[in-house]
């Protein structure tokens, strides 16, 4: 696997490939033996709770951190040795706003454009193009520090793509943004992807993760699962039973004690119960329980990404 991952023609298909990528901070292993392949011109997601190693993984892939062990190849550059060569080809939008608060939108973009070596003419054309794509034309003379979360995020994206990178890293890009702005942001991402950019995005929002072409679920630095969202849901190692009842808190408490039940979560008037896949008749099993009455309605439903996430992370994680 390791030798094959690093062979040249293997790289041509993938924007990113890593093998046993590991990074320790003292005793803490932030990223543990991560095997990753990201196809070109796709949007790849890192889904995981805070502290799951998403940011560290992105920093390793951008060359900002050196791996403790393992191999990484990004756009044909071996890291960490060829990190300098990689810089011109990638864009990176940091989790925290990292442009200058005391410069205006236009000044920030001009600064970044010059850093990437755009000539005066290219700069002018690219800037007005970016300002209109990201709806910042009206704010171009406003100080970045005085803008709203959504505007800052659009500016950060504009700055990250100013040099038309082949590969774009986005670290929790929508954490400070309202749902409307988030929708529009994803439209921009699909446009970029359509134009040939490969995008790696980290998130802890399920709905956002579901938009990705492919997805890796991370927990404690370990990749628990990776596939397309549809495959993850259909091959999930659990079945979902929805119960409509009144005394849901009590029912939840009783059911979670069963060894066959992975977890239960209340959704308004329903209780979503994850039952292990090997149980043949999950409804019959649950119906037998004394806490449930015959009038309660039970039904097997289609799993959501959250169910996938719950079933493969936390204490309930099913070893695969």
């Amino acid at each position: 696997m390791t030798t094959k991952a690093m062979s040249p023609d293997y790289n041509s298909e993938f924007a990113i490939s890593s093998a046993k990528l590991t990074r320790n901070f003292g005793d803490l292993t932030a990223v543990s033996a991560l095997d990753l392949t990201v196809e070109k011109q796709t949007i790849y997601g890192f889904l995981g709770p805070n502290g799951s190693g998403k940011t560290t993984a992105i920093r390793l892939l951008t060359g900002l951190l050196k791996p403790t062990s393992g191999q990484v190849n990004v756009l044909g550059c071996q890291l960490p040795n060829e990190a300098n060569k990689l810089r011109l080809q990638i864009g990176y939008m940091t989790q925290k706003f990292s442009l200058y608060d005391d410069l205006t939108v236009k000044e920030n973009l001009q600064f970044i454009a010059k850093i990437y070596g755009l000539t005066a003419n290219e700069q002018k054309a690219r800037l007005s193009e970016l300002l209109s794509i990201h709806q910042l034309t009206a704010q171009s003379k406003q100080l970045a520090g005085s803008m709203s979360g959504g505007q800052k995020q659009r500016l950060a994206l504009a700055a990250a793509v100013i040099h038309k990178p082949k590969l774009l890293f986005l670290d929790e890009p929508t954490s400070a943004v309202d749902p409307q702005n988030r929708r529009e942001f994803w439209e921009q991402l699909f446009d970029l992807c359509d134009q040939g950019t490969t995008i790696l995005v980290s998130t802890h929002y399920m709905d956002e993760a579901e938009r990705c072409h492919k997805l890796a679920i991370l927990e404690n630095g370990i990749k628990r699962a990776d596939d397309t969202p549809q495959n993850l849901m259909s091959t999930m190692a659990a079945q979902v039973v929805e119960i409509a009842a009144t005394d849901l808190r009590y029912i939840k408490e009783s059911l979670t004690k069963l060894p066959e039940v992975i977890s239960a979560a209340q959704l308004g008037t329903h209780l979503r119960v994850l039952v292990k896949k090997e149980v043949n008749q999950p409804i019959a099993l649950l119906q037998k329980q004394p806490c449930l009455q015959s009038k309660n309605k039970l039904a097997i439903v289609r799993p959501s990404l959250e169910d996938v996430f719950v079933s493969c992370t936390g204490n309930e994680a099913i070893p695969t």
Partner: protein, 394 residues
């Protein structure tokens, strides 16, 4: 082939210069929006010059002293007036006893006390400096001083001033022509014949103020980018460490030049400090020192983890730059280890250069050791700072 290589080198140079220019523009824009810092650029040299030029004076005048007059004669009063006329001391208090006078010194009411004995007249006439020679007397009697000074000796400058009164001429006290003694040596004072402290202090002040502001500006430069989170973005770009370093120090060279103009201009017009050397020489010396100080700041910036730490390290450099550089105390008077420390500070070399240029009209090239030292410091420092600057987050 060679054309191709030179073309690609030319292109690289061009993009490199573009990146440096980007940093310079950004720094200037940020500085122009930081009104407080911008004001400090002007106010620090202005206020400090006025403060120091007026305050620092090694020729002490009008030291408050008391008197205990045991003799209470016309002569004792004339003696007090003659002493007072030197301008070194002013009699502010009278005490009845030596004990009361000493208590007054203890509580810092006066810095010294003149004790005039009962027999001051007899002592005076027998004193050799008065020169009566008569009536004949025993050797012991003639060698008796006419009065005594009790001085708070903790401050050596004050003590020395009062000590200088020890041999003051007394002949005019008795309407006699002073018996002038021929000095052993003749001393000709060059460059500052009137012995005004400002002449020496103002050029030195250029060094102190530049050390303070230049190091402060750049010592915060890199740390600030880190603290505000901009560094994570900068290091993912193709910006090279050396480009960042040069871009960071460039704007401040002009700011340093503005400050030097304020100090020397005001010093010249307000305090009459001569500027004997050529302006080109002055500009050269200052340019070398500004670069060295900025680079020193950059080195601090690559070590410090926060702006507070960078500020502490600036003070750590600033204090020896004031005390050991020759600004306050002569370099020659310091013990050898202190001289080694002084040699390591850019301020020491600059103070020599600027005093040479401003006061003695020496060309910088004639003081080549100090010149080369500053140049070497700048280049080595720049390389160290760029080397220490990490492009990773490890």
């Amino acid at each position: 082939m060679i054309d191709l290589i030179s073309e690609s080198i030319g292109k690289r140079m061009k993009t490199s210069l573009l990146r440096i220019q980007a940093i310079v523009t950004k720094e200037l824009l940020q500085l122009s929006r930081d009104k407080m810092t911008f004001g400090m650029v002007i106010m620090i040299p202005l206020v400090q010059l006025l403060l120091f030029a007026f305050a620092i004076n090694t020729n002490v005048r009008d030291i408050p002293v008391g008197v205990v007059d045991h003799s209470q004669t016309a002569l004792s009063r004339v003696l007090q007036q003659t002493v007072s006329a030197t301008g070194i001391v002013t009699f502010t208090h009278h005490y009845h006893s030596t004990k009361a006078a000493q208590a007054a010194i203890d509580r810092s009411e006066v810095r010294g006390v003149l004790i005039i004995p009962k027999d001051v007249s007899q002592r005076l006439v027998r004193h050799p400096s008065v020169g009566f020679g008569l009536p004949p007397s025993s050797k012991q009697e003639t060698s008796r001083p006419i009065a005594q000074w009790l001085v708070d000796g903790s401050d050596t400058v004050i003590a020395n001033s009062i000590k200088s009164l020890r041999n003051m001429p007394l002949a005019e006290l008795l309407d006699k022509p002073a018996n002038r003694s021929t000095p052993t040596f003749e001393v000709t004072l060059l460059y500052n014949p009137e012995q005004r402290s400002v002449v020496n202090i103002v050029p030195g002040l250029v060094a102190v103020i530049l050390t303070m502001t230049m190091i402060m500006f750049t010592s915060a430069a890199i740390v600030r980018e880190q603290e505000r989170g901009n560094m994570e973005m900068l290091i993912t770009t193709p910006l090279a460490p050396m480009e960042l370093m040069i871009g960071k120090i460039f704007p401040y060279i002009f700011i340093g030049a503005i400050q030097v103009s304020i100090i020397l201009g005001l010093g010249h017009f307000l305090f009459n400090v001569p500027i004997n050397g050529g302006l080109t020489q002055l500009a050269l010396a200052t340019f070398l020192f500004i670069c060295a100080s900025l680079v020193l700041g950059l080195m601090i910036s690559t070590i410090a983890k926060s702006q507070l730490q960078s500020m502490q390290m600036t003070v750590f450099i600033l204090l020896p730059s004031i005390l050991l550089s020759g600004f306050m105390f002569p370099y020659e008077g310091m013990p050898v280890p202190a001289q080694y420390i002084a040699e390591a500070l850019p301020a020491t070399h600059f103070i020599r250069l600027i005093r040479g240029v401003v006061l003695r009209d020496v060309a910088v090239i004639e003081m080549s050791f100090d010149m080369l030292w500053l140049i070497a410091f700048t280049f080595i420092g720049l390389v160290i700072a760029a080397f220490r600057f990490k492009r990773t987050l490890d």
